[in-house]
């Protein structure tokens, strides 16, 4: 009789690997994931790939339409703006500002939020209730409003925008970690390791965190789509990235005055923002879908 399994040993993939195996089966989510990697690649290597500098103007090539237009020039693929700066290079450099910074923002606030959240899940009584109410209040204020206020305190600028959005995103991570850790702590396997004499921190590190990491990741994708939109919105309002920086929202605001004669200076950065947010949301959606399937199986 043929044996289906040659090895006696059975492999149990870790929760994270299980998630990846299910995630891989949805084509749309994989497409989103590929685009996501592509954006990260651009964000890192934009200075090597971009044909021109984002701030250098070509004064003989002002307001050139994209190359597919009859008046276009193929050496400026996506056209130029009012100072003759190449749109393609500006958008490429913008990837590292809008998308890359949002990625960094999410990682910083994730680390801080998870630490505070898991510590607060271990507290009880008045402190815990106070934190709960406080989080409710902070979460009920819209994040963009809060970001605008923090920028108002710190003053406009790209680095202040980054800090503002980090601060705004932290409560969401605290909330979700706290909730997830509390839920896990009620389960039997935690009780088992507690009976073995493990301390709270040991349980948190070895038992709980590996089991909630994917929920935090799915929150992170949501947070990133918020972060991209917020960096761009603040840039658009003139509170974020300042003038020569090729941040997508700021490019869009810059093209606003010549909207009617040079519509591509407004269409293209908008499309870039839309693409980045849709990509992030597709990855997040795929992850949540995979989480649901894994729970059902």
């Amino acid at each position: 009789m043929a044996r289906e399994k040659i090895y006696q040993e059975e492999i149990f993939p870790s929760p994270f690997m299980q998630l990846w195996l299910i995630f891989r089966r949805t084509p749309v989510a994989m497409l989103g994931f590929t685009c996501f990697l592509f954006l990260i690649f651009f964000a890192i290597f934009a200075p090597l790939l971009a044909p021109y500098s984002p701030v250098e103007g070509h004064l003989d090539m002002i307001l050139l339409p994209p190359a597919w237009h009859p008046d276009g020039n193929v050496s400026f693929l996506l056209g130029t703006d009012e100072l003759g700066r190449d749109m393609l290079s500006r958008l490429m450099y913008g990837t590292s500002l809008t998308f890359g910074l949002s990625f960094i923002v999410v990682i910083i606030s994730l680390v801080i939020g998870v630490i505070i959240g898991s510590l607060s899940a271990l507290t009880k009584g008045f402190k815990s209730s106070f934190l709960n109410h406080f989080l409710d209040v902070v979460l009920s204020i819209p994040s963009l409003l809060l970001a605008i206020i923090i920028v108002a305190i710190l003053g406009p600028g790209i680095s202040n925008t980054v800090w503002a959005i980090v601060i705004v995103l932290i409560p969401q991570f605290i909330h979700i970690t706290r909730y997830a850790v509390k839920e896990e702590f009620r389960k039997d396997y935690v009780l088992a390791s507690r009976l073995d004499g493990a301390s709270n921190f040991r349980i948190l590190h070895y038992s709980v965190l590996p089991n909630i990491v994917e929920r935090i990741m799915s929150q992170a994708t949501l947070a990133q789509s918020t972060a991209i939109l917020e960096i761009a919105t603040l840039g658009f309002l003139g509170l974020g990235a300042q003038i020569p920086l090729p941040e997508w929202g700021a490019i869009l605001a810059n093209g606003l005055e010549r909207f009617y004669i040079a519509p591509w200076t407004v269409y293209l950065p908008g499309l870039a923002i839309l693409f980045a947010v849709v990509t992030t949301n597709l990855v997040g959606e795929g992850m949540r879908h995979a989480l649901k399937l894994r729970k059902e199986s």
Binding site: H133, V137, S140, L145, L274, N281
Partner: protein
């Protein structure tokens, strides 16, 4: 219901205190002296400064300073704007109704489009129409609102010329300020051109309200789809089906009511989201609301205005939050406590 009300009221007071504390601490975080940030009197003479210091009790402990700040707010004194030197409370009273009007119209549009679409998606779960609605929701949720606003202006105002692109009403009409909400003021006024003014105001509100409503509408699609799917999987729907009711009867008599209750709960949170979107949209459509005023105060470094604007706006959002909580509890006995069924 009494215990529920008391709990909500205590939460409300607690939140207001925290918000006031945040707003008060802002006066120390902003550059400049805290008294001047609180009162907004940048050109105060030395004698005026002494009275101000007395009023805000700056020589005493921080707690009594906070107390005097609270008493100032309670008497309706939010200081004066550093830029225009006019009382902020008056400015806000003029601007906030315009924002409320825009947000309410947008909320109405978002709900009347989003909820039915979500129900349709849930009834055709995992079919082509479900997927189409979900992808629409995904794109709508991801579009940056300022870009959408610009495209809408380019297409509908400049390209087709159907709708005006800026402002609340054409300057030809003179509407007396009564409640601040334009439509009510127009109906109250006794001008002979009342209906022309009404039409003009509605033409002005359509474009910004549609732009504001897109993102909340997509969230309503997701919410109503999820709650409908949940309701359709329950036992009483299966019982109704076993009784031989047609699917139309099941949906209209049983499912929709129960699914709607779950959505009411989220309206408060969505309203907060909507107000922020409205702030950005106001800038693009030159809507004379509090969002545009707040962003302009940031440009002008008008700290008193930023501080008070934040306080008023977040109070407003929180009041809506609490109100929807009450409506939800009144509609759904389960939310009031476990003793009402299980």
């Amino acid at each position: 219901m009494l215990i529920f009300t008391l709990r909500r009221i205590s939460l409300f007071i607690f939140t207001m205190l925290i918000l006031a504390m945040v707003s008060f601490s802002l006066s120390f975080l902003f550059p400049g002296k805290s008294v001047i940030n609180l009162s907004g009197q940048i050109n105060a003479t030395p004698s005026q400064l002494i009275t101000l210091n007395q009023n805000y009790q700056t020589d005493k402990s921080i707690i009594s300073q906070f107390g005097s700040y609270l008493s100032h707010i309670a008497s309706g004194d939010l200081g004066q704007s550093m830029a225009s030197q006019s009382p902020i409370a008056n400015e806000i009273a003029k601007l906030l109704p315009a924002t409320i009007e825009l947000s309410l119209v947008a909320l109405f549009i978002a709900m009347s489009i989003g909820i039915p679409l979500g129900f349709i998606a849930a009834i055709n779960h995992n079919k082509a129409s479900d997927n189409a609605i979900l992808s629409f929701a995904m794109v709508g949720y991801s579009i940056p609102v300022f870009w959408l606003g610009l495209l809408a202006i380019l297409f509908f105002s400049i390209g087709l010329g159907w709708l005006p692109s800026a402002g609340q009403i054409s300057l030809l009409f003179e509407i007396e300020y009564v409640t601040g909400i334009q439509f009510i003021d127009i109906l109250l006024s006794d001008s002979p051109y009342k209906w022309q003014a009404f039409n003009d105001a509605s033409a002005h509100i359509i474009l910004p309200a549609c732009v504001v409503s897109l993102a909340p509408a997509t969230i309503f699609i997701r919410l109503s789809r999820a709650s409908m799917i949940e309701v359709l999987a329950t036992g009483y729907i299966r019982a109704a089906r076993a009784k031989g009711l047609s699917s139309r009867q099941i949906i209209f008599r049983h499912a929709i009511r129960n699914a709607l209750i779950k959505i009411v709960r989220h309206i408060g949170l969505q309203f907060a989201n909507l107000v922020t979107i409205a702030m950005v949209t106001e800038v693009i459509f030159s809507w004379p609301g509090i969002g545009r005023w707040l962003i302009e105060s940031i440009y002008q470094r008008d700290y008193t205005a930023i501080q008070s604007g934040l306080l008023v706006l977040s109070c407003f959002i929180f009041i809506v939050h609490i109100l929807t909580d009450f409506i939800y509890a009144a509609l759904n006995p389960l939310a009031r406590g476990n003793k009402h069924g299980s």
